[in-house]
Amino acid sequence: MNKITNVVIAGLGGQGVLKASDIVADVAFGAGLDVKKSEVHGMSQRGGSVSSDVRFGEHVFSPMVPEGEADFLVVLAPDQIEVNSAMLGSDGVLIEPSQVDASKLRNKKSTNVALSACSVDTSSLPTRIGLWQSSAIYPKRFMKRMLKRSMLARAVL
């Protein structure tokens, strides 16, 4: 059966929503899955609501997660939960900023990475930690830092 995992990452412009979705998409890509990622940027760069959809599985058609079908809704700003809650499926998991203790992160701005790591690590993705480092797009140093954060994120969940 063609089971698709749907991740929606939402927040405000400047929080790193698109970067976080790029990372999730890369990890799924590294696992050899079909991946589609969709986003709307432009006006939203100026502090407005931003969201990005990542879908992965055997074969993905639409790049947009249908409303009410998100398996994971990762929200980086508390006031954006309500705006995006309709995206979450009935069995979906909401991952919100309160789940990560930002004071434990060496850089507060990495909340985007920490929260997104939660969604990937707990999903059906056959992920190995090594996958986080296999992405060619990100410099090694960045990947190492991200890896630490993702482990930290799981520790505080």
Partner: protein, 529 residues
């Protein structure tokens, strides 16, 4: 090797792999990343002052046997429409591929025009990719078709194609190597005086009628055999939504949507009990298919507005026209804290100005807390619209009218507005504010002729905006920085409004988001000298 690329990146990759001579265009969401990516991967790309000039440069490349990629957002093609309609008649040995990036749903645009109509109106072939793989392949195909039939080709993208990332395999797709650039005169094919243009129009129609059988036999059409009870004709991103919404349906996916493979469509529809056209935006395909007597269903009119998605496609197929749930409004974008535009809009609000606005970050001046923008039409319109209001309103109101536009928008299409102002000055005079933040901020900090740096940030000729405006004949031209002296700025605008003269005030301070990069570019360029 397979890559995860956005549609924009895939177009750039194809252009690079096809040995494109030059990519040119004007930034506009969702098209801007194509040329930036082309430059990044080693291709030659440059920003033009506007889309019309970009297309003209592209035409020159194709006339000289080269391959050109000209990129713009949908409304940009309005600016470039003048050369488009005539170059369609002409004969170029090289390739001219025009990317029109449409924005159904208006994620960041002033309208949701459907540029498929342009391909029909100008009479040029059009390809519509449905993912990044096709964005890559269709760019290659567009180059091939352009050179084979010596005709410009439109690659019609939409926001969800441009900005979605999907897997792309660059292997196994190729085009013949580019020709050597050489000028071969061809006056009847290149000089569009009426005597040449009349036969040239006939020639264009002949080319299109030759492309039809090619599209029927070997065009990028995909047929998915499924149920006889439901068939769907679709193209572009709608195809993906359709496949997910009704995997059991028969689907005819059109890759080249002008000129249409009508016989293929007829054959597809014939055995079906029900066939519906699922297309985003205008009823373009459905009208064209019905006009030749093929019975197909249209989507209910409510789905003409906005983007389609899986849920909306399901509703179309169910004929469900019940009101759609309104999405919870998100947080609107706003001018950044410390943005130099903020001081300007505070002053304009305090002075109770009627603000004829324009397209850029400063469009956000319309939102609270400023509420300081009264009109926005299109790039450069602030000046002409402001002048028209000055000509018409009673004096007390006319004196409150100011035109506000940015540096890149001024270069794009504000210069002719200043020419109009000097030539036909209103009795009350006029005040134009140019918010010069040293970059094309809204679309992602692109360079323009006023920054004096090329697309890749190297030093080049620079248009000094105040010098240009003085040369056009405006006597009161002032360059200020409002941020450290908001009161002084407000006083200056107030005094300028009181005078029955023409004034241009340039508020110059680099965009906060770009300031650091601009400093670095300047430093690098100094070191190079």
């Amino acid at each position: 090797m397979v890559h995860l690329l956005s549609g924009d990146e895939a177009v750039a990759a194809a252009a690079f792999d096809a040995g494109i001579t030059l990519g040119t265009g004007y930034p506009g969401t969702p098209s801007s990343e194509i040329l930036e990516e082309l430059e990044r991967i080693g291709g030659r790309a440059q920003w033009a002052p506007n889309e019309k000039v970009a297309l003209e440069v592209g035409i020159g490349v194709a006339f000289s046997g080269g391959r050109s990629l000209v990129t713009m957002k949908h409304v940009g093609l309005n600016v470039a429409a003048d050369p488009l309609f005539t170059v369609a008649y002409m004969d170029a040995p090289g390739a001219l591929v025009i990317v029109s990036a449409d924005d159904p749903g208006m994620a960041s645009s002033q309208n949701e025009q459907d540029n498929r109509r342009y391909a029909v109106a100008a009479g040029i072939p059009m390809l519509e990719p449905s993912d990044s793989q096709e964005a890559y392949e269709f760019t290659m195909r567009a180059i091939e078709i352009a050179e084979r039939w010596r005709i410009p080709v439109m690659l019609r993208m939409t926001t969800r194609i441009c900005h979605s990332k999907t897997l792309v395999d660059r292997e196994g797709v190729s085009v013949p190597p580019p020709r050597t650039a050489v000028y071969i005169p061809n006056v009847p094919g290149r000089v569009m005086i009426p005597a040449n243009a009349r036969p040239a129009h006939r020639k264009l129609r002949e080319k299109l009628s030759e492309i039809v059988p090619w599209n029927e036999q070997s065009g990028p059409t995909q047929v998915i055999s499924g149920s006889r009870s439901l068939g769907i004709i679709t193209s572009g991103i709608s195809f993906q939504h359709v496949r997910e919404a009704v995997p059991e349906a028969s689907v005819l996916k059109l890759g080249m949507t002008h000129p249409l493979p009508i016989e293929t469509i007829r054959r597809f529809v014939k055995p079906l009990e029900r066939c519906i056209v699922v297309e985003e935006g205008d009823p373009y395909l459905v009208e064209a298919i019905r006009s030749v007597g093929i019975p197909v269903e249209d989507k209910p009119s409510m789905f003409r507005f906005g983007e389609l998605n899986v849920k909306r496609v399901r509703r179309i197929l169910d004929g469900d026209c019940s009101p759609e749930a309104k999405p919870v409004p998100g947080k609107p974008p706003e001018l950044c804290p410390g943005c130099p535009h903020r001081t300007v809009f505070t002053a304009l609000k305090n002075l109770n100005c009627i603000v004829s606005g324009d397209i850029g970050c400063y469009s956000l001046g319309v939102l609270p807390p400023f509420d300081a923008m009264d009109t926005i039409v299109c790039m450069g319109a602030s000046i002409g619209v402001g002048l028209g209001m000055r000509h018409t309103l009673p004096e007390s109101d006319a004196k409150r009218v100011v035109s506000v536009l940015g540096d890149s928008t001024f270069i794009h299409s504000g210069i002719t507005g200043i020419a109009e102002m000097v030539y036909n000055p209103p009795p009350t005079g006029h005040v134009v504010l140019i918010l010069d933040n040293g970059t094309t901020a809204m679309t992602g900090m692109q360079e323009h002729p006023g920054t004096g740096r090329t697309l890749d940030h190297h030093k080049t000729g620079k248009i000094v905006i105040e010098d240009l405006i003085k040369a056009l004949g405006v006597r009161n031209v002032q360059v200020v920085d409002a941020t450290p002296d908001p009161r002084g700025f407000e006083e200056l605008v107030k005094k300028s409004l009181e005078k029955p003269e023409l004034s241009v005030i340039i508020n110059r301070r680099n965009c906060l988001l770009a300031a650091k990069s601009i400093k670095e570019y300047e430093k690098c360029n100094e070191q190079d000298n």
